[in-house]
Amino acid sequence: MPSLLSAVSQAFSMIVSLDSYLLSVVGVSLKVSGMALLISVPVSALVASLLGLGRFPGRNLLRTLVNTGMGVPSVIVGLVVLLLLSRSGPFGGLGLLWTPTAMVISQCVLITPLITGVMLSAVVGVDRAISEAAHALGASRLQRVLTVIREARFGFLTAVLAGFGRAISEVGSVLLVGGNIVFPNGVSYTRTLTTAIVVETRKGQFETALALGIVLIVIVLSLNLVASRLQRRGTL
């Protein structure tokens, strides 16, 4: 085991030299989580708006469901998606298991309730008087809804960032459905930052694991920084 100091310095030199393995792992992580986000956000925005502003039976049940979904452990999601996509499962014929697509699917399942939940509390948190003021100034029904959503915009952005943060730092489900695969030429196929850290640590490649960890932390920290700045703006 190398000393911590030398591991750190080697890790930095890997990052600075843009190590091709490192880059491909970062690429897979960003692609998978980015794609999951792209799919989840519109769905979440719609569901959150409906749950927050609509009046229909079953609304409270759905809200509870969303809140429950926010806390589901990622391995459980991975397990369920694995069973669904495995050869003997209902969607086995699609041949999606051990592909980035499978990882995107499991991350979508994982982050949609989280994003929806945060967006929902943002929409519900908008002063009811805003809606009446919009009406009183000549807003149509749709314009009223859009006005309320616009008021919740900082909360929506926070939700997006929180969703991305959860997706990119999650290990359990991507490991189960992606398979942590690397091509023989050393380029990642379904290996993400988190799953790579697990593998490299097990192999004793601590400097690689550290380099990956540093990249991951930088990504997550900068997201949180942006999120907290947005929140401050929203409550100015």
Binding site: D127, A129, I130, E132, A133, A134, H135, A136, L137, G138, A139, S140, Q143, T147, R150, E151, F154, G234, L236
Partner: protein
């Protein structure tokens, strides 16, 4: 005098069963300032909400006779009215965005885009002539004495300033009928007087004003006619000069206080 709004037999019952309006008849003349006075809980706010179509009356009907409504649809009628509330409700945005809000609601999509691009250009210091929408926002801000406040954030305003922005936002859409629900109730006297002056100017320009107020002095200063609402019924109404002349009816004496009748 021609009527701009007439209400017949308005009743309103809240879902909980509380009957807030128990048969209100009202005739508002074009160009006047009409005050609705009454104790807390008399139904003034409910009445305004029914008249501006926020609530549908449980019984009775309201007729609007606007000159400029494009058709008889609810939206086009609503767009001839505007309302200012007791507490200013501003959007989480700049003062300019707040005042422009009602205008944007009425603008077509290309029109909105044009104004946005225009403002973006201005930001990059291109010298562009003002669009009609921008000019109206400017005028409205000027009218309430807040020119130059456009770039400020709405949350950075004092209460009095915020209420003036709310008033500017309502005036910017040039409503035929303006509802003011206790617009100065939570303001200090100087701010209240400033708002009264703006109301007077708008009325002189032809805006009909429906004012709910607690403040008898204000009603006297602003209103042509007034109605006293008690427990969901109009118990007294008439020109302000006659209404408050002693001895006054029992209702008026009780509400206003004997010593204030002159």
């Amino acid at each position: 005098m021609s009527s701009i709004l007439s209400a017949r037999g308005l009743r309103f019952v809240y879902p909980g069963g509380v009957e807030a309006l128990r048969g209100v008849d009202l005739e508002i003349h074009a160009g006047e300032v009409f005050a609705v006075i009454g104790p807390n809980g008399a139904g003034k706010t409910t009445l305004f909400r029914v008249l501006n179509m926020f609530y549908r009356p449980s019984a009775g009907r309201v007729e609007y006779r606007f000159q400029t409504a494009r058709d008889g649809s609810e939206l086009s009628l609503r767009r001839r009215m505007a309302m200012v509330f007791q507490d200013p409700v501003l959007l989480n945005a700049s003062v300019w965005e707040n005042v422009a809000y009602g205008l944007f609601l009425r603008e077509s999509f290309p029109g909105r885009l044009r104004v946005r691009l225009h403002r973006l250009g201005r930001k990059f210091r291109l010298s562009l002539p003002a669009t009609e929408l921008e000019a109206r926002v400017e005028r409205a801000l000027e009218e309430v004495g807040l020119s130059g406040f456009g770039g400020k954030h709405a949350r950075a305003l004092s209460r009095g300033e915020a209420q003036r922005v709310a008033l500017a936002r309502a005036l910017a859409v040039e409503p035929e009928l303006l509802f003011l629900d206790e617009p100065t109730a939570n303001l200090d006297p100087p701010s209240a007087l400033l708002i009264e002056e703006v109301i007077r100017t708008a009325n002189r320009r032809g805006t009909t004003v429906l004012l709910a107020s607690h403040n008898i002095g204000q009603v006297r200063r602003l209103a042509d006619r007034a109605a006293l609402l008690v427990e969901g019924r109009i118990v007294e109404s008439g020109p302000v000069g006659e209404l408050f002349r002693p001895p006054g009816s029992g209702f008026i004496r009780e509400f206003v206080g004997e010593e204030l009748l002159t």
